[in-house]
């Protein structure tokens, strides 16, 4: 038996423990899907670089560990949470520790009636019709081994339901905190956000950790953006440099809905994130922006798919990468314009800056157009910091390090500026400034 199958068997063996820990919940309505996903997981193999979708990302380092599904709840103090909050942001804070929703640390303010923000586990055990209707409907596990792993072990995470016409003024800041010592935990938060007709909300998924041990986050988020709903989504990935992060977000866009996402990725030794957005009706708008910073031996991979299944929809995508040392980056963005999807506007761009000789990025923007009355463009660039600009700054008395910081900041600035939540934008600016020692000079 090869190593990859051994690891698979390890997770299969752990399923029994997982199932026992469910108690009564094992009879819930989603258990059939869990079982189905488990069977799928058993049938599928872990991908290798021979798989087209994983061509530039080897998960071999991930398969070196036997990760243990996180079955037990853990508590943290309020102080431990404080550090992860954004300055000057009045938000609804939702805390998920090691994949388990924390009722004690979650604090919701000014949530209108008709809005539910709760533990996914609770929704499962109460046989929530929402779960029944939407769970696993968008994130297809049949071809994706990590999604089947998530679905089989579905236990907890965050459920957000915004009923028709409701607006949540304060951003919902979901803190996914991992606190593991040497347990090598497998953390699998499973989330479902359903925004009904005419709703609006900002949702921040923020991945952090307290200890520096090795662990594996495998998370799936399904988002339904109902008719005329507006969702501003942010994912900020700051896991520690020995963690593994595999994420997946599936977005269902209904008529004239508007979904914006910013994926800011800084952490983890290996990151792979898949975004799948599908326009299921006319007039939708989808923006997928991202910024990733890698250094050391970090590996970052983002795959996006925007499916223009219906006419009159707009999509914009802009990803920027800043790669240093021996790090690797992968951008694979696909836009499909289906035969019906006339009057589609789809724009996609990926720009990367390489700061060292050893860093490497593979970029593959793809457009597949089957309609004839559309406006689409895509492009990718990979470059270094502009020598002329460097010399210009230095000739004005600005030192090497500061000049570098200014140019890196300038490169990232258009993506950062498109982040609508100002305190989060400031936070990202601070991270950049700290990382590259930019002198204080903004006015």
């Amino acid at each position: 038996m090869n190593h990859s199958s051994e690891i698979k068997n390890w997770y299969l063996k752990n399923y029994e423990l997982f199932e026992n820990s469910l108690n009564g919940d094992r009879f819930s309505s989603i258990n059939g899907l869990r079982k189905e996903a488990l069977n799928k997981f058993s049938d599928l193999s872990f991908p290798t670089v021979k798989d087209e979708e994983w061509k530039y990302t080897s998960i071999a380092p991930l398969l070196e560990h036997n990760f243990v599904p996180s079955l037990n709840k853990k508590t943290l103090t309020k102080d431990q949470i404080e550090n992860f909050l954004f300055d000057d942001l009045e938000s609804n804070v939702v805390v998920v520790i090691n994949g388990h929703f924390s009722e004690e640390l979650t604090s919701l303010n000014k949530i209108p009636k008709g809005v539910e923000i709760s533990s996914f586990a609770k929704a499962i055990s109460s046989n929530s019709p929402l779960v029944k209707k939407h769970f696993s409907k968008y994130a297809d596990f049949s071809k994706h081994i990590f999604t089947s792993l998530s679905t089989a072990f579905t236990r907890d995470g965050v459920l957000i339901h915004i009923s028709e016409g409701k607006i949540i003024e304060r951003p919902i800041h979901i803190l996914f905190i991992t606190s593991s010592e040497n347990e090598k935990l497998l953390i699998q938060p499973r989330n479902l956000f359903v925004a009904e007709k005419n709703t609006q909300a900002t949702i921040i998924e923020h991945f952090v950790n307290i200890n520096s041990g090795v662990y594996f986050t495998n998370t799936v988020t399904e988002i339904v953006v109902g008719e005329n709903a507006i969702i501003d989504h942010l994912r900020l990935q700051e896991e520690n440099k020995s963690a593994f992060h595999i994420g997946r977000i599936d977005i269902d866009l209904e008529r004239t809905s508007n979904f914006t996402s910013h994926f800011i990725s800084l952490g983890a030794s290996l990151t792979r994130n898949d975004f799948n957005a599908r326009f299921n009706d006319e007039g939708g708008e989808c923006t997928l922006n991202g910024l990733f910073l890698t250094e050391g031996n970090q590996h970052f991979d983002v795959h996006t798919l925007i499916d223009h299944a219906k006419p009159h929809c707009n999509s914009h995508e802009h990803y920027k990468g800043i790669l240093d040392d021996n790090s690797r980056g992968v951008f694979n963005g696909k836009v499909i314009v289906q035969p019906d999807a006339q009057k589609t506007n789809a724009f996609q761009e990926n720009n990367n800056i390489i700061l060292s000789k050893e860093a490497l990025v593979n970029t593959k923007p793809q457009l597949e157009i089957f309609a004839d009355d559309v406006k689409c463009s895509h492009g990718a660039t990979i470059g270094q910091l502009d020598n002329d600009a460097m010399f210009y700054l230095k000739s004005r008395g600005i030192g090497e390090e500061a000049a570098r910081a200014i140019l890196i900041h300038a490169f990232a600035s258009d993506v950062i500026k498109s982040v609508k939540v100002i305190p989060v934008r400031n936070y990202i600016e601070e991270i950049l400034a700290d990382k590259f020692n930019q002198p204080e000079a903004r006015i």
Binding site: L393, S395, R396, G397, G399, L407, H409, A410, I443
Partner: protein, 256 residues
């Protein structure tokens, strides 16, 4: 203030400067003229510290220090300023940000306090007036989408803010209309003082109607082939550069 001795420089193995000798004292304005390709811009870039140029021989002493050993940013902090022939566009960096960072780095180097936002804004206001630059341009990315004239005026504006000891203007007059030319000249003349010196690199005599040089040097084929007072500029304007080439040949013969 500045002494260039037997300076040789090349780029990509191609020899451009072939023995420049030049002495500049504080308070003086020197014009360096010459036909295209004679090495004028190379000299300006070497003075500012552009790494692509390799100095193969000779030395440059600036205020008693070996200039060639100094990084470009240190030269700037010590008071050297180059107004670029082709100012660089830097998307995403506002002129304000660049200037405030530059000013503070220079002040830090000189042991002065950082300027606060209010002081900086009033300084900017004063200097933009001097060079008649629309202050709104400063919130835009450096030189991005600027007209040719705006770029050149922006260089002079930066010079006015940073107040260098030795300013080098590399063909700042090229492509400017007469009004812009006057503005550039005003900027330079305002800077002029007993402690400061200016090198005006130009192809045309026109700018020298407004900035009166103390000395004019003619650069040809990597060497200064003739030096004189401001009347030399008029002579060049009248006769063109061809007679200089002949002068040079004569000099070469003399050396042999």
């Amino acid at each position: 203030m500045l002494e260039i001795k037997n300076l040789h420089a090349s780029i990509d193995g191609k020899k451009i400067l072939k023995g420049i000798n030049l002495k500049i004292n504080a308070g003086e304005i020197h014009a360096i003229m010459g036909p295209n390709g004679s090495g004028k811009s190379t000299l300006a870039q070497v003075l500012a510290g552009r790494e692509e140029y390799e100095v193969t021989k000779g030395e440059i002493i600036y205020e008693g220090k070996n200039l060639l050993e100094m990084a470009p940013e240190d030269r700037a902090r010590e008071g050297i300023f180059l107004a670029f022939q082709y100012p660089v566009e830097i998307p995403g960096v506002s002129s304000t940000n660049l200037l405030k960072t530059a000013l503070n780095e220079i002040r830090k180097h000189r042991g002065l306090e950082q300027v606060d936002a209010m002081e900086f804004l009033s300084l900017i206001k004063e200097k933009t007036k001097l060079v008649e630059l629309d202050q709104q341009l400063l919130s835009r990315s450096v030189n991005e989408g600027f007209s040719g004239g705006e770029k050149k005026r922006n260089e002079i504006f930066q010079m006015a803010v940073l107040e260098p000891k030795l300013a080098i203007l590399d063909e700042t007059d090229s492509g400017l209309d007469i009004d812009a030319l006057r503005i550039v000249a005003k900027g330079v003349n305002t800077l002029k003082s007993k402690e400061k010196a200016v090198i005006v690199v130009t192809h045309y005599q026109r700018l020298l109607d407004y900035i009166i040089p103390d000395f004019v040097h003619v650069l040809y084929n990597g060497k200064i082939v003739k030096s004189g007072g401001k009347e030399l500029a008029f002579e060049l304007e009248e006769k063109g550069y061809d007679w200089i080439k002949e002068v040079k040949v004569v000099q070469v013969h003399e050396q042999v």
